[in-house]
Amino acid sequence: MAPEPLLRADNVSRQFPQRGGMFARRAWLRAVNGVSLSVAPGETVAIVGESGSGKSTLGRMLLGLLAPSSGSVSFRGEALGGLRGAAWRRFRREVQVVFQDTGASLNPRRSIGDSVAVPLRWNLGLGRAEATRRAAALLDQVGLPAGQFLGRLPHTLSGGQRQRVGIARALASDPSVVVADEPVSALDVSVRAQVLRLMRQSQAQRGLAYVFITHDLGVVRAIADRVVVMRGGKVVEAGSVDAVLANPQHEYTRALLAASGAPVAEASRR
């Protein structure tokens, strides 16, 4: 039996005005078109698709950063549109995000210790000293020894290190769901595995759920339990990762799989 979903999208759509000036009739782009999805505690759901498939727009709706044009997103059974005050702040704390390029979402003039301490102070209401102590512990946990990294500025870190800061900052609020939009796409292969391992560990320790948005089916296989394949704003296939990747039903999934087939990887595991 399935556990109660934490985060759930019911038949959500989102359209954007595409072109048209003051007098022209508006053309609408349906970025997401009638998608339903649920995320249970502790599981990893991957959303895959190519650019323009609507996967990031769906991610933004799950985060409450974008309101659906129709349908609804709910968190612990309550529609996001109806959340106010303390309930909204709780959603904001419990559902965190990691972006592809954490460098761009870190304040360049703020030390990474402070960047991780901010959500501790605002979301958890900790005092300055306690927040710094916890930030240091989090940096240790993501493999950035606090003694060495607490006072560093973002530009002195490598891409993989910045991505760890992004994860530490997301974990700081003690979330139940982390939406990660292409968190490892910009990283070198050897660093990518380190970041994925860190995400797996934090999941095991905290019972976190992940929504993992990616175009890389190798990453999906390594980290996700379920996968949702999107194309043109719609879900074309969904199911357990093992079932979908071993026996894809939709031709688009098959094409994605053929295009991303990594024979080198298979050879290296023999």
């Binding site: 190519e50 292969v189 296989r221 990747l245 087939g261 990594a262 050879a267 290296s268 595991r269």
Partner: protein, 323 residues
């Protein structure tokens, strides 16, 4: 096969003496796609910039070695001579096609500029049409603006511009990295076709071993500014000898297999200003010995730069590390 590009003992250094590329030698023959693979900071793009005489910072310069294009040493060219070679004898394509196209000009005009820059404006319109057809773009694309084209189409426009003067050598630096996987395949197939039809020599720079395997006959693996292994692609991937190459391959994720452990090479690439003594990979290597690995730098012998390459245990360097 005659080598179109011969790089011999190339070193690139910053003004303060830091070596970004150290003693790199490589060949690219006519009608051949050769891969140069490495992680960020390995010096692979710097090697390409040296071959193009285009460093991203004025502090970088060629500190030694030769770059021979059909036997002519490019390292000694004056800026004016470089302008004749670059774009005419050597074409180039980069990662992000959008940043190389002017958003305010139709793309056909931009391909024509590649001809005009070398004084070949006559009959440009017909030649542009032929070039765009050669890269498999539909009729009418010449009149379109960059924002009307997809990422893959923009990359094709840039390939057309790179080929306008029928260069002998094309340097492609991560040409498919910013593109969707299904679009990537089309661009790689196009490069292979151009290689065959024009006898083009292609130096393909990428961090993606899958791209290398799919397109390159031969491959050079770079680490920390040096070539650490090279050879025939199929043979090298079937039996990589350098522990770094083996580690890179073990880090790959396949959609077909769920890995029980997620392998990664411990540590990070050393900064160019602070290279370890001895073998540059020894701080991360499972087989490193105090002597010779940490003491003396290994030479590139028999296509691999490793003191312990001949030992049987080196074939499975990471066996005890979950790879």
């Amino acid at each position: 096969m005659s080598a179109v590009l011969q790089v011999r003992g190339l070193s690139v250094a910053l003004a303060n003496g830091t070596r970004l590329v150290d003693d790199v030698s490589l060949d690219v023959g006519a009608g051949e796609i050769v891969g140069l693979v490495g992680e960020s900071g390995s010096g692979k793009s710097m090697t390409a910039y040296a071959a193009l005489g285009l460093f991203p910072t004025p502090h970088a310069r060629i500190a030694g070695g030769a770059i021979l294009l059909d036997g002519r040493d490019l390292a000694r060219l004056t800026p004016a001579e470089w302008r004749e070679v670059r774009g005419a004898r050597i074409g180039m394509v980069f990662q992000d096609p959008s940043s190389f196209l002017d958003p305010l000009l139709p793309v056909g005009r931009q391909v024509a500029e590649a001809l005009a820059a070398h004084g070949e404006s006559r009959g440009a319109q017909a030649r542009v049409a032929a070039l765009l057809a050669q890269v498999e773009l539909p009729d009418g694309v010449a009149a379109r603006y960059p924002h009307e084209l997809s990422g893959g189409q923009k990359q094709r426009v840039l390939i057309a511009a790179a080929l306008a003067m029928r260069p002998r050598l094309l340097i492609a630096d991560e040409p498919t990295t910013a593109l969707d996987v299904s679009v990537q395949a089309g661009i790689l197939t196009l490069l292979q076709r151009l290689r065959d039809e024009m006898g083009l020599a292609v130096l393909l720079i990428t961090h993606d071993l899958g791209v290398i395997e799919r397109t390159c006959a031969r491959v050079y693996v770079m680490y920390a500014g040096q070539i650490v292994e090279s050879g025939n692609t199929a043979a090298l991937f079937a039996a990589p000898r350098h522990p770094y190459t083996q580690g890179l391959m073990a880090s790959l994720l396949s959609p077909a297999v769920r890995p029980t452990t997620l392998f990664s090479i411990p540590g990070t690439v050393p900064p160019a200003a602070d290279m370890p003594a001895g073998c540059r990979f020894h701080p991360r290597c499972p087989l490193a010995l105090p002597d010779p690995c940490a003491a003396r730098p290994p030479e590139l012998t028999g296509e691999v730069r490793c003191w312990r390459a001949e030992e049987p245990a080196t074939a499975k360097a990471w066996a005890a590390h979950g790879a």
